[in-house]
Symmetry: C2
Subunit: 382 residues, 2 copies
């Protein structure tokens, strides 16, 4: 099937939770009013049954597909969203919602606190994956959608998918958690904590009060560099960089000698231009608090009607396949309609953004079957 | 066999390389005079054929076994060195040599530069694993040892073992590289580079000129925290910490919530008290430059008479078993007497310091056979 580009898109802003209807957060505090940035692609059908909610990862945003005016590159999952693509906007109404706690247009630590008129900084309450999803539910309600055809996302987006299932199972028909986990493991917590320590060790961080002054760029760059190592695999690094040098010979200095060093420094430096350090702290903490193990996911005996497609990647060592297998085992024990697929990729955790052909194949069929009750694409083949 | 404690030991200092006999370094510069810290355990036999050289890892030192006055814990490989132990000091003369470039008594960036009377700091020349071994050869010569019974070490110690084989094959009878690699991979370089960036991002680092002022403690602590994650395995972290909390409930703050966070912060903070930040930069760089691939290890056609025992650990993802397999494959292709053993450990890279029972079993027999020409321990059994 041929695909077409989505063209120009725009970010919208949903405002909600005004006093006295602030949102009650898991930490016990209240927050409001709130703004949630989101984008939509395609059109909602008459019976509002074709809506798919896309959820993004740690550093993602609501701009999942198409172009903003002046942009050279499209949204972060453009290869998956558009006419004829995995999330086919000729058929489906695709919504991508940002998370609260971030810095991409939704309320977060860099937003102005209504009572002081200054950025919240660390006065911003701690948020959880549960809080992010609660806010998204307000958005979906406001769009008049009673039941989502699908919730889909990778990494932290996958955690939001699982939280949607936990909190609002009657409001979704299917769920596609990709390269994710039922709970953050100590190793995953450890990597996040080191990233946070790198930010907080930067004197410019100044206990979070750096707005209007210099931001903790060097600390955040180090945090991001750590992240990038964990997103790739030993093998993909070998394939991409091996021991290739930037110059002809070793510098015998602390300059970047190897291409992999130059790459990491570049990725670290470019990240600080687009991301708020406090948002990084809040979002990584939300991930670390995430734990739907021990019956918290779907309580024993609870009947839910959600179809699942669980996807993992062989070389992903940050969210290893065994964590997706734990999800599928849990679903199977509860007698749910669930399919597991482990894609043979060498890309590591980044694979969920890169293994487009495999993902498209799996997701397209799964969505067709969920939407029509049978596999349209497969029918075509026959 | 029963083992006995080694008791009190002392560090010795070997001085060499005085003008005009400075050491020529790989970077092209010369360095001298130099000091090399080392310890010895047991006694050299009459024909000087029972000497074993132990080589340490990144943050190690010459104090491998026994106690210094006032110490509560013994040297870093005490469980392996002593009467009746794997490196049996009733039979063997065990030498542990520190590396140049470090901060544990040997000449390094924190040493005083003879011409200025101030610490070298970044005026210290870049050193390599080859330079470290070259310096050790002076030490072994000074002890009157023509041929070492064995060179043994894990991690960076293993790199020195391989470099000893490359540079001085006629001066060693056997080699035991543990949890190491023929070359540093881009992932290994990447982790080191992020650690260096964390140090250099700390304003206290001050381009290396922090001596007598405050050292870059926060940056070095972050570097060490990254290191500790890579030394453990996902599984060993799960077994040691799981998601256990320090307090009863989530703090909903940026304090340490999880035991794993407290552990990492503790390990980071204690490291900065015992290690020099510039030394960390120099030694990690030496590791990154290490590359004996592509025929540099043992040139085609060169006959060497060295026996090998190559040891790797199943859960070690920092120096994965495939890297040890590359070493053994190379040795076998060259027709050398080489044994490979992959120990089923969950400890990750740390296993070389922890899997004492397995290592003792393997190494004791291997040394016996090297020393006597047959396996004494096995004879006893028969």
């Amino acid at each position: 099937m041929t695909t077409k580009p989505l063209g120009m898109v725009e970010t919208k802003y949903f405002e909600f939770g005004r006093h006295p209807h602030e949102i009650a957060l898991e930490c016990g505090k209240k927050l409001g009013p709130l703004t949630l940035a989101y984008e939509t692609y395609g059109a909602l059908n008459d019976d509002r049954s074709n809506a798919i909610l896309v959820l993004h990862a740690l550093s993602g945003d609501s701009h999942a597909a198409g172009f903003h005016p002046g942009d050279k590159s499209p949204g972060w999952w453009d290869s998956m969203i558009g006419p004829g693509k995995a999330l086919d906007t000729d058929k489906y109404f695709v919504i991508c919602s940002n998370v609260i706690g971030g810095c991409k247009g939704s309320t977060g630590p860099s937003s102005l606190c209504p009572s002081t008129g200054k950025p919240f900084a660390l006065a911003f309450p701690m948020i959880t994956i549960g809080d992010m999803v609660k806010a998204q539910k307000y958005l979906i309600d406001s769009l008049g959608i009673q039941r989502l055809l699908c919730v889909i996302g990778g990494s932290m987006g996958g955690m939001q998918v699982l939280e949607w299932v936990r909190a609002y199972p009657e409001h979704i028909r299917s769920a596609i958690p990709i390269a994710t986990a039922l709970k953050h493991s100590p190793q995953q917590i450890a990597f996040n904590e080191v990233g946070r320590q790198a930010v907080m060790a930067d004197p410019s961080w100044d206990n979070g009060n750096y707005y209007g002054k210099g931001s903790p760029e060097r600390g955040l760059a180090v945090a991001r560099m750590i992240g990038h190592i964990t997103y790739m695999s030993d093998k993909s690094m070998e394939q991409k960089f091996s021991r290739r040098l930037i110059e002809k010979n070793y510098s015998f200095s602390f300059k970047s000698d190897f291409e992999v060093e130059g790459y990491l420094r570049y990725r670290g430096d470019s990240f600080v231009k687009r991301f708020d350090a406090n948002a990084y702290l809040y979002i990584t903490k939300a991930m670390d608090y995430f734990d739907l193990s021990g019956g918290r996911f779907i309580p024993q005996g609870k009947k839910i009607e959600v179809r699942f497609l669980v996807i993992a990647f062989k070389s992903d060592w940050l969210y290893p396949a065994y964590q997706s297998q734990e999800i599928i085992r849990f679903l199977k024990i509860h007698g749910l309609d669930a399919t597991y697929c482990e894609i043979q990729s060498t890309y590591g955790h980044d694979a969920f953004l890169l293994e487009i052909k495999e993902e498209t194949h799996l997701i397209k069929h799964f969505l067709d079957k969920t939407f029509h009750g049978y596999d349209v694409a497969r029918e075509y083949v026959i």
